[in-house]
């Protein structure tokens, strides 16, 4: 007679498996990594010494604290890709925020290089695609989560930078920095105002000049109508055409203003929010119809901020984020992870950099407005980390990214140097704002410490906890226009003897240009056979690179009596060979206090070579890696020093006994 217990036991196991229960708890300690973008070891040490970061101090005493070598260049997408894959940029192929297309000399995103446009059938003004590819993430190497997941470790990764579009994976991963908004931009806001904005065309948002109408003709203006742009209207765009202002799907928005009170009722996407001045709305879903009759409705989410109702109408709409409830594009792997998180958390920021830095840079927000918005991001992030901690079990691996410090150091350094309080005021110093917000960066460090405290309190006792940052920070009081310097040195020549111009608008005379700058730290030779109109003979490239390097290292800021550049690196000397051909020929390591201008980064040549940095983007890290190391903290003793990012990656794998994938360079930080 057959044993009847076997099918019963099998059924019981199946039920347990279906219920998501593991029959036996894993017998190895878990690993929780807190990735804090931009945390600086000098600032952290000071705050720990002052007793302001008790949880970090606890880790430093019980385990270890030291500087962590960053990537070269120390840019977030480069550094995080290095951490993710355990490979240098030559291995993963991310060399800068901005790469260039050698065929056109135009800047392109390192995250999502453009793809060849597909074909479409045109029918009554509609373009119906019949072929084409979606942009993909070209980062090379094996992400640590894949290696862990394949080895059977339950791994969850929250808001990892440089993973948009998400690389295919079975592990649960939410993409972070680099994830675009619904327009395909990196934070394109909308500003509704009845007051003209100077230089609106140069701002990073959509400025809608509106009029407050009197709908009921009672003599009191009461209604503002506008629209929010969503994704490009691809069914009305010929393949490959870059969308113009009128080529986006839109959703209407109406603002009703009370006749007596400075309050506004926002009506958008079938929802309503009532806001006082200085208040943010909750997330409001918006639908964008790509096809008629609801055949393709793309859902986004937006938050409104009533900055001012009277005397001038000023309402800010956040970039339209991809809705996690019904993602119009993948922001997670597997795709369903976004909706799983939505079911547990409600709506959350999916845009890669949720802090509204553009509004502060563009001076639409003051520091109070900005702080209110950052508080929303912290709330959002706090709910998510609580969720992650609730799901974390012994034997699991979770990575959680915090943006608190990086963007706030970029934006608020001008109000008080947290690294050197005796430093002279930053050129963008604002005394009044400094009085209120001069200590904000310290506050954000303390917030990270509170989050760390929650992690330490909630993870199982034997969990290995690592806190790491991708780089540190420095003040940036001076801005370097690298392309202008190349012009003055005779390496870059503009047409018709002009002194200013742009690569993108065809102002460069490529028949006389030997080198040009694109990206925050890159210099490329105009190399024959590689660049479309290259003139530098490959045989002469080495000598020319040596000459430019030497001159760059002699670039002095005469006004400040200081060197501009600390070191210059040749790509072939610092990167592994796999993808070095895609790298800039030279990587410029600016000295502390200097950084490449936004203009030069995108290929613009302006008159000056150096000037004061009066932008609110006042702290920076796009310098020589040695002046902006990151942080490594752990609750386990770290025997040696001199570790860098790939060592942390190697540690994640060795903790679970998972062999390192081919090409991974690091060594376990806990192995003497």
């Amino acid at each position: 007679m057959a044993d009847r217990r076997t099918p019963i036991a099998a059924a019981a196991l199946a039920v347990l498996a279906l219920a998501g229960c593991s029959p036996e708890p894993p017998d190895e300690p878990g690993l929780f990594v807190l990735g804090v973008d931009g945390m600086d070891p000098v600032i952290l040490q000071r705050l720990m010494d002052e007793g302001k970061m008790p949880n970090a101090s606890r880790l430093a005493v019980e385990g270890g604290f030291q500087s962590l070598g960053t990537a070269n260049p120390p840019q977030s997408p480069v550094a995080w890709s290095t951490f993710v894959t355990g490979r240098d940029p030559g291995g993963h192929g991310v060399f800068d925020f901005v790469h260039r297309d050698p065929k056109t000399y135009l800047p392109i995103s390192s995250a999502t290089p453009p793809v060849e446009p597909g074909e479409a059938i045109e029918l009554f003004g509609w373009y119906l695609p019949v072929s084409g590819e979606s942009p993909v993430n070209t980062r090379g190497g094996t992400p640590f989560w894949d290696a862990l997941h394949d080895a059977g470790v339950d791994v969850e990764v929250y808001r990892i930078p440089g993973n948009y579009p998400p690389t295919p994976s079975d592990a649960k991963v939410l993409s972070g920095m680099g994830t675009v908004d619904m327009r395909g931009g990196y934070g394109v806001y909308t500003w509704f105002t009845d007051r003209p904005v100077q230089g609106a065309q140069h701002l990073k948002g959509d400025i809608q000049l509106v009029s407050v109408q009197d709908d009921d003709l009672d003599g009191t203006p009461d209604t503002v109508r506008g629209s929010l742009k969503g994704p490009p209207d691809l069914f009305h765009l010929p393949p490959g055409q870059i969308p113009g202002d009128a080529d986006y799907l839109t959703a209407p928005v109406t603002f009703r203003i009370d006749p007596d009170r400075d309050e506004v009722l926002v009506e958008a996407g079938g929802g309503r929010a009532l806001l006082k001045e200085g208040e943010w709305s909750e997330w409001m879903p918006l639908g964008f119809d790509a096809l008629p009759a609801g055949m393709m409705n793309l859902e986004g989410i937006v938050r409104f901020y009533a900055r001012q109702v009277r005397p001038h109408f000023e309402v800010y709409a956040s970039p339209v984020n991809v809705s996690p409830a019904a993602p119009a594009q993948d922001v997670t792997t597997p795709s369903g992870f976004a909706t799983e998180l939505y079911a547990l958390l409600g709506h959350f920021y999916t845009q890669g950099m949720p802090e509204e830095t553009n509004a502060l840079k563009d001076r639409l927000f003051d520091d109070d407005d900005y702080r209110r918005q950052v508080a929303l991001v912290q709330e959002d992030s706090g709910a998510m980390i609580d969720l992650a901690l609730g799901r974390f079990q012994r034997g699991d691996m979770t990575f959680f990214y915090l943006s608190d410090i990086d963007l706030q150091c970029h934006m608020l350094w001008r109000l008080g140097d947290p690294k050197d309080p005796s430093a002279p005021p930053h050129p963008a110093f604002e005394p009044e704002a400094a009085h209120t917000h001069g200590q904000d960066i310290e506050g954000y460090y303390r917030h990270v410490d509170q989050v760390l405290g929650r992690v330490l309190d909630r993870v199982p006792e034997d969990t290995l906890v690592i806190v790491m940052s991708d780089h540190g920070f420095q003040s940036q009081p001076r801005t370097a226009h690298l392309n202008s310097w190349l012009r003055d040195q005779g390496y870059l020549v503009l047409k018709d003897g002009k002194r200013t111009g742009q690569i993108a608008t065809g102002d460069v005379d490529w028949s006389k240009t030997r080198a040009y700058g694109l990206g925050f730290n890159g210099v490329y030779l105009n190399l024959a056979g590689r660049e479309a109109q290259g003139i530098v003979d490959p045989g002469a490239a080495d000598a020319l690179l040596g000459e430019i390097s030497s001159r760059l290292q002699g670039w002095a800021d005469t006004e400040k009596a200081a060197p501009v550049v600390r070191r210059v690196f040749r790509a072939r000397d610092i990167y592994s060979a796999d993808r070095v051909a895609e790298a800039p020929d030279l990587v410029v390591g600016y000295d502390a206090g200097y950084g490449c201008s936004d203009e030069s980064t995108l290929g613009e040549v302006v008159e000056a070579t150096l000037e004061d940095n009066t932008s609110r983007w006042s702290g920076n890290h796009l310098m020589d890696p040695e002046v902006v190391p990151g942080v490594l903290l752990s609750n386990k003793k770290i025997p040696g020093t001199g570790h860098d990012l790939p060592d942390v990656t190697a540690t994640l794998l060795s903790h679970f006994g998972v062999p390192a994938p081919a090409g991974m360079e690091g060594r376990d930080i806990f192995t003497p």
């Binding site: 709908d215 009461d222 009170r261 309050e263 309503r272 208040e279």
Partner: protein, 272 residues
């Protein structure tokens, strides 16, 4: 309208009472199945069963003819036309049962929605109180006043819109069943709020239009009221694994009653 709502609510409050509000899934399975059975019985009683059987048979005959004589174009067209004609007759046979069943089925569905689609607000929740004035009343939005009980705070507003709406933002500070009082000139109306506590019938909308029939949780507004509607949106109640909310319960009700009716048609000797 108000009397109708009051009567049906009284009946269903009793019918649904034995199982309470907590066992939502039980009522949400039982009543659609009973509705399917009831519909079968009504269908059997009021429909022309012989006519329906004949129509179905003729439709099948003509569809077969289309298949068999597919080389004869004229024959195919003729049979298709006849099949369509019998289809129309079949649908006509369904009109009377549909008319008989539509009211009780709708009432049952509305009552299930009223009882199980929403959950009470939670302490700390912030919600909009949306008041629409009847444009024919001549009452100005500025004349509308709100009194809130202890436990509910006005967080922002009112914002008065040019199309005769008045909106407040309310914050639920305590748990309980509260009554908001709205006045417009001499008229005063109440609006109920359910905050905290166990699952129960959650008041959502008071209206003086036909919409009141869909929201029997509160009395309809008087026909002569200056208020056209008073609404505080509620969140959907989680009745998983069944679909929740208004749309979910409506779809579930239709689907379950149809499936039940279809599966039980032979047992009850009904030709559909």
């Amino acid at each position: 309208m108000d009397l109708f709502n009051a009567l049906t609510s009284a009946v269903f409050d009793v019918l649904l009472a034995p199982f309470g509000y907590r066992l939502a899934w039980f009522d949400l399975v039982l009543w659609p199945v009973l509705a399917g059975i009831g519909a079968l019985l009504v269908y059997k009683k009021v429909s022309n069963q012989a006519g329906i059987a004949a129509a179905k048979q003729r439709i099948m005959v003509h569809i077969l003819a289309v298949v068999i004589y597919r080389d004869d174009i004229l024959g195919v067209l003729r049979s298709t036309a006849r099949a369509l004609g019998w289809n129309v007759r079949y649908l006509a046979h369904n009109v009377v049962p549909l008319l008989v069943m539509i009211v009780p089925m709708t009432v049952l569905m509305v009552q299930l929605v009223a009882h199980f689609a929403y959950r009470p607000l939670e302490k700390g929740d912030v919600r909009l109180l949306e008041v629409a004035l009847d444009p024919e009343s001549g009452v100005s939005p500025k004349a509308v006043q709100l009194q809130v009980p202890q436990g509910v705070a006005v967080d922002a507003g009112p914002v008065r819109t040019p199309d005769g709406q008045v909106v407040w933002r309310l914050k639920m500070q305590d748990e309980g069943d509260f009554t908001l009082r709205l006045t417009a000139g001499d008229e005063a109306q109440n609006k109920a709020l359910a905050v905290g506590g166990g699952p129960r019938k959650v008041p959502v909308l008071r209206s003086k239009t036909w919409e009141a029939l869909l929201y029997p949780g509160e009395a309809a507004l008087p026909r002569k009221s200056a208020f056209e509607s008073i609404r505080v949106a509620a969140d959907e109640r989680d009745v998983s694994p069944l679909p929740g909310g208004e749309g979910g319960i409506v779809l579930w009700f239709f689907g379950t009653s149809l499936v039940a009716g279809f599966l039980l048609r032979n047992r009850f000797g009904v030709t559909l």
